[in-house]
């Protein structure tokens, strides 16, 4: 058994070295395909992080008339209260001062000539309501029920806007995911082919092995190890690239305040490790399965 182990390691190493260009090509392809797949997964995580945040945020806003009466406001508040925890998850009252701060800090941080024009008094106070259901129609029904209340100036739904952004990111995510999967399939095909070509080039060797009484496993194992090693090497490089990309992206987001809406896209390193592990697993599996399939052809005794 000790001898056999020796033999297997020696053969695998020799084969990897002998087909160096081919090994490099396979590893690179796996690398690129898994890196893309990783980015796709990362993006998916990012989008789900970001939408989580939005979903936690305001789903619709009830603006009140500046000249509402206290009883009108109490009535609205009790209407809201009654539906917690039914249709409404939670709600929050935003005073005129808070609204002003939001307006000048969040919306127009760099354009005082606009915010200068606005004073807390002219901005309406509002209720920010988070419904339990995110289904657009149900939110619509709920929102409409407040529309005709006295003291309510207007109800606006963020739902539609969020849906649009979600759809946009969905599309991007799908594009990246599909590209990643196509590349992964290409990678699988390539590993399979690398191993098959390697076996084709060595088909006489395999034939001779069989004729001097080698068992199938004795022949197969070095080839499978070879494929697995290629898969893992590619996956390791891919994981590294994904990790690096996430770091760079996070740092870039942090240093730049243009796209701070994307801040929530950054994925924490725990999740990145998870993705890296997944990639390694896929790489190893692709390598082993590819070589097994390729080898199978030459092995019907």
């Amino acid at each position: 058994m000790a001898l056999k182990f020796d033999y297997v390691i020696r053969e695998t190493g020799r084969n990897l070295r002998r087909n160096l260009t081919l090994t490099v090509a396979s590893v690179l392809t796996v690398f690129v395909s898994l890196a893309l797949l990783g980015v796709a997964l990362l993006l998916q995580k990012g989008v789900s992080n970001a939408t989580d945040r939005w979903e936690d945020g305001v789903e619709f806003i009830i603006f009140l008339q500046p000249d509402r009466s206290t009883s009108q406001q109490e009535r609205i508040e009790s209407m809201l209260e009654r539906q917690v925890p039914g249709a409404i998850d939670r709600y929050r009252f935003v005073t005129q001062q808070e609204a002003y701060e939001e307006f000048s800090n969040d919306f127009f941080p760099n354009t005082p000539e606009i915010t200068d024009l606005v004073t807390p008094e002219i901005l309406p106070p509002s209720y920010r309501v988070v419904p339990t259901e995110l289904d657009a129609e149900q939110v619509e029904v709920l929102a409409r029920s407040f529309e005709d209340e006295p003291g309510v100036r207007r109800v606006i739904r963020a739902t539609e806007e969020i849906r649009k952004i979600e759809r946009a990111t969905d599309v991007v995510r799908w594009i990246v995911l599909v590209a990643g999967i196509i590349l992964l399939a290409t990678g699988l095909l390539l590993i399979l082919n690398t191993i098959r070509m390697a076996m084709f080039a060595r088909r006489r060797e395999i034939e001779v092995m069989k004729l001097v009484g080698a068992t199938n496993w004795f022949i197969l194992v070095p080839f499978m190890l070879e494929g697995t090693a290629q898969g893992i090497m590619g996956a390791a490089m891919g994981s590294g690239a994904v990790y690096g990309a996430n770091r760079a992206f996070a740092r870039w987001l942090a240093s730049d305040n243009v796209l701070n809406i994307l801040q929530s896209f950054a994925v924490d390193s725990g999740e990145v490790w998870g993705i890296a592990l997944l990639l390694m697993g896929i790489g190893a599996a692709v390598g082993a399965v590819g070589s097994a399939i390729a080898a199978y052809r030459w092995l019907d005794v």
């Binding site: 002998r18 006489r204 034939e207 009484g213």
Partner: protein, 224 residues
């Protein structure tokens, strides 16, 4: 040791390579297989090795019906049979020593056995100097001797030799035939296909003659 019962082999449904061949070879026998080119000698040997399966008939090797052998048992059958192939079948990327050692590694022989056996057998066939050469760096006759060494090295029960002297000069041929004779004397059954009239006539062993796939002669102390 080897028994064929009306064995027929047809290639591609039209080439009758072996037709109703029956014979019985005892343990320790030395048999020459002769016949014109294309008469089925290599086919005969390939069937014993289970490289090919017969279309009809039964083949027994060491008492076992090899037609009934399950797939995964085939390697173990082959470990009892040493084969010298007409086209040598050496591994092109391994040196002479590695080629011979390989036959031992495959059957799980420990390292120290490999280390002593390989140089010994190479000396026997006169190739100790070419130990570290690759097959393509050898002359035709040298390659043939490597293939002989590989077939011998694990002391098989049966030795199948397909024209082992086809590429050898008369002097070397005589040396190889002495070696085969010695191996045979230790109890190994030898079946050898050959065209070499001189060798057959000198050795005077059992001769089976094939012609267009049929056994036309089976003589105990025959000539070519």
């Amino acid at each position: 040791m080897i028994k064929l019962e009306s064995v027929t082999k047809v290639y591609k449904g039209e080439v009758l390579a072996l037709h109703e061949a029956s014979c019985d070879i005892q343990k320790g026998e030395f048999v020459f297989l002769v016949g014109p080119s294309g008469s089925g000698k290599s086919t005969f040997l390939r069937l014993l090795n289970k490289e090919e399966d017969p279309d009809k008939g039964q083949i027994f090797v060491a008492g076992k019906d090899i037609g009934r052998l399950s797939r995964w048992r085939v390697p173990y059958l082959r470990r009892n049979i040493g084969s010298i192939f007409q086209d040598f079948k050496l591994l092109p990327n391994k040196t002479v020593a590695q080629n011979v050692a390989f036959a031992l590694e495959v059957i799980g022989r420990p390292k120290h056995v490999v280390k002593t056996q390989v140089p010994a057998i190479l000396e026997l066939v006169g190739l100790q100097k070419k130990m570290h050469n690759l097959p393509h760096e050898l002359s035709g006759g040298e390659q043939q001797r490597v293939s002989i060494a590989r077939a011998f090295v694990n002391r098989p029960l049966i030795l199948l030799a397909d024209e082992p002297t086809g590429n050898l000069d008369p002097a070397t041929s005589v040396g190889i035939m002495r070696l085969l004779d010695r191996i045979n004397k230790t109890g190994t059954t030898v079946v050898m296909a050959t065209h070499d009239r001189g060798i057959v006539d000198t050795m005077r062993r059992r001769v089976i003659e094939l012609d267009r796939g049929q056994i036309v002669r089976d003589q105990v102390r025959g000539v070519y």
